[in-house]
Amino acid sequence: MRTINRREFLRIAGAAGAAVAGLTPHFGLFGGENQAGSAAKLIVVYNGNPSSMVQKAIDALGGINRFVKKGDVVVVKPNIGWDRVPEQAATTNPELVAEIVRLCLKAGASKVKVFDRTCNEPRRCYHRSQIEQFARQAGAEVSHIYEQKFKAAAIPNGQQLKSWPFYADALEADVFINVPIAKHHSLSRVTLGMKNMMGIIGGNRGEIHNRFDQKIVDLNTVIKPQLTIIDAVRILVNNGPQGGNLNDVREMNTIIAGVDPVAVDAYAATLFGLRPAELGFLVEAQRRGLGSFDLNLMKIEKIDLKG
């Protein structure tokens, strides 16, 4: 398995950042009240095991207590979309999910729910991704998606969609923590945090895939995660989002965390050698004030657990 070394990685990231700075004349608005404060702060942790990296990342963001209050109902939303094993990098790293669950419970969450609307048969996905087992051991309530729990939610600021069914557990949660895995995707080029929100919607999801950039932003205006933690322990660089070929997997041992969902995605895009401005959904999201993809304006804190 080929791994990109850190220098190469930083070079790509730096180049991407510079390019973005040159390309975007206007500065993005940091929208959403939950992103107030250290909005543009982005934490990148690498070279640790998934649990230690996520602990570090959350600490650097001000600790879990900043996000989870006693008695809160928390939704931790990984990507469990496919009947694949963790080594194939199609689903979120189970240890990472479990550690987030543990941290939330330690902070006093009354309940931590873990679910995803899968593409393959749900029991296969929950089982083979190992998320079911790990999250349950960590104390989460892991359950399948139920048609009965979808509720039509209005999308007042929607451009393509005016209403779409959303999962009640996600709508009603006190805290929503988005935990996607970074993967190649032919339509959107990469699937990261914003695309991961497709796991909480009902209806015919295939319909989201045309005029995708606008529709995915429409959906992201309904539920705004308080925290996005991107799993880049292993990333899938080709034949995503399902993969299946281990040659398409790169071990990055990286975790990216932040409160601005656009910023987190923007940084993660650079792992694939992409400039954030190349990604239509990030441009659209910034235009609508969901966050900023301008890497130069972010305060990026990089933590190397090796040294």
Partner: protein, 513 residues
């Protein structure tokens, strides 16, 4: 003895239900879920005759058939799950049946006629057992009718409770628990389920004419056991002539109308060893003996009737064979992975729907076919790719096929064997007709090197604007025909892709590419 028989019936029925629920993902049992089907000597006989070979999985059925040389039609009375269901129905019918004549003996020969028709047809490779074998009937009814009904009612009940709005969390945990094994994960609906229900209910309603009507007069499996029972080496029901007081209670209680009017003898091909007569006899004149006694009884089948039945068999198979097969619909018949080449597949497939059942618990692509491949293919499993798809990591259908019509494949083999090929309908595919990106098909294609690829090109949209669009196409050499692209295509109705059996590779055949 009657109690023992009832307990046996109950145990086997519960075992049958248990195995039915075992025939589901993840299928981690060591008992084959198709055990009852493997145990039907009729399935064994008909498939051996049709294929002209001995299928190893079915040898147990031959052992059970040989046992009837000692124990008569024990299978009908003590084991057969359809027999148990009919007995239950008859019990509910008790009052209605009281005082009705119990004898229509001339109908006894029908079941032998049906057996002859089936045997003749199988000799010429036309399967008919699927309509008549009781194990097939009950398995198919369970899969396609009773279980969906059960699931529907349980879910309706749960939904009703959920609407009340209390204990939501507990109810959903219960739901989650039930979904692991008992309830389906996605709704299970099957083509022709109403027809299957009508057949089952019809069989039960025949009991309004007389008890165990099906078993007495129609069941060809019963006929096969009866044939062997008539040559049995043991006595079975025996009457001490001097003790009999001619009260006739035994004849009245006999479910099978097996006891002759002298009350001292019976038709061995009819007796199902239910022991009711032994229990009812006021003078204990009737006993059950396994002492040897060699005497072959004639079954109720005249030579003339045998000839008539054989001719009927030939006519039937001829009619089925000469039925029109539409090339269009036949090209859409996509068989499960590992299916034998079509003629051998049809020789073996008994339409029990075990594969359909287990498939419905995961990818849910298989449905009982209609007349797509002619009358020969009625109710055979075929993929309905708009409803479900073949799970890339699933190879369960072959594991529950009792006759090996679907060869059990290792997962690696299954992931390479080609069921068919998907094609785009460019007049319906969003990028092609509308000039907008979509690629849902490509996203879902499970192959490590995706069989759906795309070109990025400029396109003129219907409104005249120019856009850069990703145009998907199928790489025919890579596609294995799992159908997930067809299932997930967001275009309603026929969809932007369709599945055909082009380039299919049946078990034992070389790959096309």
């Amino acid at each position: 003895m009657v109690t023992a028989r009832r307990i046996s019936q109950l145990i086997f029925f519960i075992f049958f239900i248990y195995l039915f629920f075992q025939a589901a993902y993840p299928y981690d049992t060591w008992i084959p879920a198709d055990l009852f089907l493997r145990s039907s000597p009729l399935i064994a006989t008909a498939t051996f005759l049709a294929t002209k070979i001995v299928i190893p999985t079915l040898i147990i059925a031959i052992v059970l058939l040989a046992l009837s040389l000692l124990l008569g039609r024990y299978f009908c009375g003590w084991i057969c799950p359809l027999g148990t269901v009919i007995d239950l129905g008859d019990r509910l019918n008790r009052n209605f049946l009281k005082g009705r004549p119990n004898t229509i003996r001339q109908l006894r020969s029908w079941k032998f006629s049906i057996l002859v028709v089936i045997v003749i047809a199988s000799l010429f490779s036309v399967q008919l057992i699927w309509f008549f074998d009781p194990i097939v009937i009950i398995t198919r009814s369970m899969t396609a009718t009773l279980y969906p009904l059960f699931a529907f009612l349980v879910e309706a009940g749960l939904n009703l409770l959920l609407k009340i709005g209390v204990l939501q969390d507990q109810l959903f945990s219960l739901y989650d628990l039930l979904r692991q094994r008992i309830l389906p994960v996605h709704s299970t609906f099957f083509q022709q389920s109403v027809l299957f229900a009508v057949i089952l209910v019809g069989i039960l309603l025949l009991s309004l004419i007389s008890r165990r009507f099906w078993c007495r007069y129609l069941c060809p499996l019963g006929a096969l056991f009866g044939l062997f029972a008539s040559m049995r080496f043991t006595r079975g029901i025996a009457v001490a002539s001097e003790q009999c007081i001619d009260c006739g209670k035994c004849q009245r209680i006999c479910k099978m109308d097996a006891i002759n009017d002298d009350f001292r003898s019976h038709a061995r091909s009819e007796c199902i060893e239910c022991m009711s007569c032994v229990a009812v006899c006021p003078t204990n004149a009737i006993s059950y003996q396994l002492r040897p006694k060699l005497a072959v009884q004639r079954v109720d089948m005249s030579r003339r009737r045998f000839v008539y039945s054989s001719v009927t068999g030939l006519m039937t198979l001829g009619l089925i064979r000469t039925g029109f097969k539409s090339p269009t619909s036949a090209g859409q018949v996509v068989r499960p992975p590992g299916a034998l080449p079509e003629p051998e597949f049809l020789d073996r497939c008994v339409r029990c729907q075990e594969c359909v059942r287990i498939c419905s618990t995961t990818g849910a692509c298989l449905q009982p076919g209609q007349l797509e491949s002619g009358w020969e293919g009625l109710w055979t499993p075929m993929v309905n790719a708009r409803h479900g798809y073949c799970e890339y990591n699933c190879n369960l259908c072959g594991k529950v096929c009792p006759t090996g019509a679907i060869h059990p494949l290792e997962l690696e083999q299954k992931q390479q064997i080609r069921m068919g090929t998907a094609y785009f309908d460019k007049s319906r595919c969003i990028p092609w007709y509308r000039g907008e990106d979509c690629l849902v098909c490509e996203e879902h294609c499970p192959l490590p090197d995706k069989a759906i690829k795309f070109d990025v090109r400029e396109a003129r949209r219907p409104d005249g604007t120019i856009a850069i669009v990703k145009f998907p196409y199928v790489d025919e050499k890579l596609c294995i025909g799992c159908g997930i692209c067809v299932t997930k295509c967001p275009v309603p109705g026929p969809g932007g892709l369709f599945l055909t059996n082009a380039h299919q590779q049946r078990w034992g055949q070389e790959p096309i590419f």
